[in-house]
């Protein structure tokens, strides 16, 4: 279905987060890089605490965990973490290199620096920041990026510290590695000026590219991350967190529009049926006895553990919970998210998906009977849990169901790998932010601005010149690299393969081979950067012929390891090719004699190439065949 996003009033804003590759972290002298697994680790165990006033605006699950005193275990690798990350020492002065880099990126995005920078504390209590807050500062305002569908404003540019990375989690505890905590991060927030899913991709790419061209950003998985704010006119503004793949952006936007339209459709349907919010009951019913012979594993193992099965009757709701809101997700899935987030239950089962999961038609009938409902028009939701969790879960589900009569709730959601999203928490009212009193405000003075001047971020036209004059690419190829969202990949590969593989081979591989493989339906996005670099390195070292590249990529994309994929294409040595040529001449000696030296060349070449294609350079084969034929006829002569 073709959707006219403009007439729906689609508005998208982007937040692009990118790690900077400075020598040290933002507020201490530790290296801005991740520690190896075999580093020497020490552990510290902590709790975080929040006053009642702060608990209201939290991720419900996190608030619940904090309230219960969840144990937070911090792993501190020696040499990568100091007392600052451990919250045992106040922050040092802000890293000037990071500040100058961020300001140079701001300038390239046409933004203006503020006169004086104030570092703020933003409350975060999932434990990912040892202090319980993230340090963040607005360094520049205003600015814009140009795009074919219209200029997109930049609202704020902030410099902040990255959070610790979660390495384990379980009931009542969470484990973080502190190496990432404090790595400088630049956050670019656009105005909600983006009007189509494709524009969102282009603008995110453009912002990412400008950062990349500063030469001061970290590369690789997890070093850049996008958040999206998406709304349509009749819907609500949804925040989507953690889109870490650029190509997912248009999908996330399209699915969110789809989801909001479906929710609006559900609202209309509820009103059409004459239902009212009050028809969603406050209380639920224990139906464990009705299901005592049920074969469902979920029900059985739950009951064995002492849990009960609770049902929420929903008169008039048949078909509503099964309504698809985006691919693979039904309205019932949305409700299950709420039940999990607020109640900590494993999920819900709703009547629109039954019979299934071992709950038979007969079980279904018994539940309807027990609830006094009619199968043809009514629905229900089951939760297998203890009573306390069920209460919290149903309370959230009931609120969400009642909001279905109003429309689309304002939510913070998390991106799934397939581009759909799941409910995370309600949106905070105003960010809980207060000044970091341990860091003095920083004047943006002339000496700082001089440092910023020294970091040159080339404009795309200048990059074009470099590609043509220094890398030796054709003007066409260079222009195509700049137009499409692959220049960063190209530059990374050129950097990493300097002196090994020519830029031309890299450009051709990305722009021509990868694209045509994608057109053939191959999932080229499954090829990891390290493998692609490995393939190109093998070409550069003469281990495989460049003609073999598409086949090797194909093999890697279908799951082969790099070594396995390269093996059949390893280049043949001159002696090996000579042996092949000799054996082909020998087995065709009659035909060759009959044809004579001139007319045999093409014939033998064809036979040999069909055997060595991709494993030997054509020119080299040609020279060997000539040599062998020459000596053959000379002997005879």
């Amino acid at each position: 279905m073709e959707i006219d996003y403009k007439s729906l009033g689609l508005r998208v804003g982007l937040e692009v987060h990118q790690q900077l590759s400075t020598k040290s972290k933002l507020f201490c002298g530790c290296p801005a890089e991740l520690a190896p697994e075999n580093a020497v680790y020490r552990e510290v165990i902590r709790n975080l605490w929040l006053g009642k006033s702060e608990l209201g605006e939290l991720d419900p699950a996190a608030a619940y965990e904090v309230a219960r005193g969840r144990r937070i275990v911090y792993r501190a690798p020696e040499g990568y973490v100091c007392l600052v990350e451990l919250d045992e020492e106040p922050p040092h002065d802000i890293n000037k290199e990071a500040l100058a880099t961020a300001l140079s990126i701001a300038r390239a995005l046409n933004a203006k620096p503020v006169d004086e920078i104030y570092v703020m504390r933003k409350i975060v209590v999932d434990g990912s920041n040892t202090c319980g807050f993230q340090r963040t500062a607005i360094i520049a305002l205003g600015g814009y990026v140009e795009d074919e569908e219209g200029t997109v404003g930049i609202q704020t540019i902030a410099l902040e510290e990255d959070a610790a990375r979660k390495v384990d989690e379980g009931p009542g505890f969470v484990v973080y590695n502190l190496d990432r905590l404090g790595i400088p991060l630049i956050e670019v927030s656009t105005a909600p000026d983006i009007r189509t899913p494709e524009q969102a991709l282009r603008v995110a790419y453009r912002i990412g590219l400008i950062m990349r061209l500063s030469g001061k950003v970290r590369r690789g998985i997890g070093t850049i991350r996008q958040d999206l704010n998406i709304s349509i006119e009749k819907g609500a503004r949804t925040e989507v967190k953690g889109v870490d793949k650029l190509e997912l952006i248009p999908k996330v936007v399209a699915y969110e529009v789809m989801r909001q339209l479906s929710l609006l459709g559900i609202k209309d349907e509820l009103h059409r049926r004459g239902l009212r919010p009050e028809d969603v009951p406050d209380s639920f019913v224990d139906v464990t006895e009705v299901l005592k012979d049920c074969e469902s594993r979920v029900v059985r193992s739950g009951v064995e553990k002492g849990m009960r099965v609770y049902a929420l009757p929903l008169p008039g709701f048949r078909g509503i919970l099964g309504t698809e809101v985006c691919p693979g997700r039904r309205f019932g899935t949305e409700l299950a998210d709420y039940a999990r987030a607020w109640g900590g239950v494993s999920g819900i089962i709703h009547s629109d998906e039954l019979p299934a999961y071992g709950i038979s038609e007969r079980d279904l009938d018994s539940i309807y009977e027990r609830l006094g409902l009619v199968k043809l028009k009514d629905a229900f939701i089951l939760i297998v849990s203890d009573r306390e969790r069920a209460e919290r879960a149903f309370s959230a589900v009931v609120d969400r169901l009642r909001y279905a009569f109003v429309g689309v709730p304002r939510e913070t959601r998390a991106a799934n790998p397939d581009g759909t999203t799941r409910y995370l928490r309600p949106q905070p009212g105003t960010a809980r932010m207060y000044p970091e009193t341990d860091i003095r405000p920083i004047r943006v003075d002339s000496s700082l601005l001089e440092e910023v001047e020294r970091i040159k971020i080339p404009k795309p036209e200048e990059v074009l010149r470099v590609l043509v004059e220094e890398h030796g690419l054709s003007r066409d190829l260079a222009a195509q690299l700049i137009r499409e969202p692959v220049l960063d990949l190209y530059l990374d590969l050129v950097d990493d393969l300097r002196g090994v593989t020519s830029p031309q081979i890299i450009a051709t591989t990305i722009l021509i081979h990868m694209k045509s493989l994608k057109r053939e339906g191959l999932s080229v996005e499954r090829v990891r950067y390290v493998d692609l670099a490995g393939i190109l390195r093998a070409v550069g070292r003469g281990e495989i012929a460049k003609e073999a590249v598409p086949e090797v990529i194909k093999a890697v994309a279908s799951g082969s390891s790099l070594e396995e994929a390269l093996k059949p294409f390893r280049t043949l040595s001159v002696e090996e090719v000579e042996r092949i040529v000799e054996s082909i001449i020998e087995s065709n000696i009659e035909t060759i004699r009959a044809r004579g030296p001139e007319r045999s060349l093409g014939f033998v070449m064809g036979r040999v190439m069909s055997v060595v294609r991709g494993r030997a350079d054509g020119a080299m084969v040609n020279a060997i065949v000539r040599k062998k034929l020459l000596s053959l006829f000379r002997e005879q002569g």
Partner: protein, 447 residues
């Protein structure tokens, strides 16, 4: 210059061409000249130069900024437990909270905050008397403040408290702890001093954990001493209860900065488990008697002098001429200052000044018999204070001169080295010196 007031909502057109809307915040001592601090609608603060800028006031008094509350005096909270406790607040990090709007630090915890912080206070106490005594950073404390705190604590104990908690800044907390240990005579119940190394406006504050340990100490302690209860390690796993006359702040910022020197801590408190574990059997037993005698005077004519290479002996003469009655020298090693100063020291003791010798090595005791310099200093009347911490000797000497102003200096010197509160003497085994990190690799992570 436009007239803008804190709390106004303004729109500023800067000289650089930016247009910014925000609420004007009160100026702080760190703000630059000619700049205003604006709070933007997204919660961030930025500084904007007013030079060459135009300012429109969109709404006057848009944000009402809280006035600083005055002292709250005494508040009584009824709890659910059996104990009578008092909480005396003197200031410091532990009692400060931030105002989210302005970032201003509010210098006192309200009684309500206190109970929210440490639910154990309500649960374990029948009656909690919260006293907002002073709001001082601990670097500003003087011997006069020690007197005020002593009297307040004494008053609460005499009116039947089972224990008193004293919130204090950490920088000089051990000095005040020693002061209370000497001024509260015939103590029948524990006095628990507590502070925080991380301010209580952050979710990771140690104030909460440290505070929660205090009522457990009052409930379970078999001792009647002045103690300091602070984090035992970098983890939130237990608090250590240190004897007030044996404790020292050993790190500028860590949670576990407070450590017992030349002794073993008295106890561990596992706060989440509410468990009290005695680890030192040498203590002054708790009698529960409210009949504490308060001898709260301290002399401000006592100095603490650190010895260093090339020390100008004239400094000692100067102190004597200024009318000082006591000098505690933090000597090198076993208790030395340069030999040339022996003459000035001799003159001081002749004029009735008590000159005591502690060591700047912190750990270990002084022994002035080993080297000639030591023997010479002994000869001119220096009093070696054994393993007493220099800071404790300083406080004790100040207390002695404060309460016995007309006593013979030789008698003062003798009292200085007579044990009163377990501040001096006792055997030291291998275990009383910390094990430092010598590059031993830790292979297996804990837990």
């Amino acid at each position: 210059m436009v007239n803008v007031r804190p709390g106004d909502l303004v729109r500023v057109h800067t000289r650089a061409g930016l247009v910014v809307e925000g609420v004007v915040l009160p100026s702080t001592e760190v703000a630059s000249e000619g700049h205003v601090v604006l709070k933007l609608s997204n919660g961030y603060n930025i500084g904007v130069s007013l030079e060459g800028a135009t300012v429109e006031v969109l709404a006057e008094g848009y944000l009402r900024l809280a006035e600083h509350e005055g002292s709250q005096g005494v508040t009584v909270i009824k709890g659910e437990g059996a104990l009578r406790m008092a909480f005396v607040s003197t200031g410091g990090t532990i009692t400060s909270r931030v105002e989210y709007e302005t970032g201003a630090v509010r210098p006192a915890l309200s009684a309500g905050d206190l109970v929210e912080f440490a639910p154990e206070l309500r649960e374990l106490s029948a009656e909690l008397v919260a006293v907002d005594l002073m709001r001082k950073l601990s670097e500003n404390m003087t011997p006069e403040d020690w007197s005020r705190i002593s009297e307040e604590v004494g008053k609460r104990l005499r009116s039947g408290a089972d224990g008193v908690i004293v919130a204090h800044g950490t920088d000089t907390m051990s000095y005040t702890a020693a002061a209370l240990a000497f001024s509260l005579r015939s103590l029948g119940n524990p006095v628990v001093m507590v502070g925080a190394q991380r301010s209580s406006d952050r979710p990771s504050t140690d104030a909460l954990y440290n505070l929660r340990a205090c009522p457990i100490v009052i409930r379970d302690a078999p001792f009647a001493e002045v103690v300091v209860a602070m984090h035992g390690s970098s983890d939130d796993l237990y608090s250590l209860v240190h004897r007030g006359v044996r404790v020292r702040k050993m790190h500028s910022s860590r949670r576990d900065a407070f450590q017992t020197i030349n002794d073993l801590p008295l106890a561990k408190v596992y706060v989440n488990e509410r468990r009290f574990e005695l680890i030192n059997r040498n203590y002054i037993p708790r009698t529960g008697s409210p009949d504490v005698r308060v001898m709260s005077r301290f002399s401000d004519r006592v100095a603490l002098l650190k010895s260093y290479p090339g020390l100008d002996c004239g400094i000692i003469d100067y102190l004597v001429d200024r009318g000082y009655r006591g000098i505690v020298i933090e000597g090198t090693g076993l208790g030395h200052i340069r030999e040339e100063c022996a003459e000035s020291v001799g003159r001081a003791t002749e004029e009735g000044v008590v000159v005591a010798m502690a060591t700047q090595t912190i750990f270990g005791r002084v022994n002035m018999n080993v080297y000639t310099t030591g023997r010479r200093l002994l000869k001119v009347g220096v009093v070696p204070v054994d393993d007493m911490l220099s800071e404790v000797a300083f406080v004790k000497l100040s207390w002695l001169w404060g309460n016995y102003p007309s006593e013979d200096p030789r008698r003062i010197a003798s009292m200085l080295v007579t044990n009163m509160a377990n501040e001096i003497g006792g055997a030291q085994g291998l275990e009383t010196f910390p094990r430092w990190y010598h590059g031993d690799r830790l292979q297996e992570p804990r837990a």
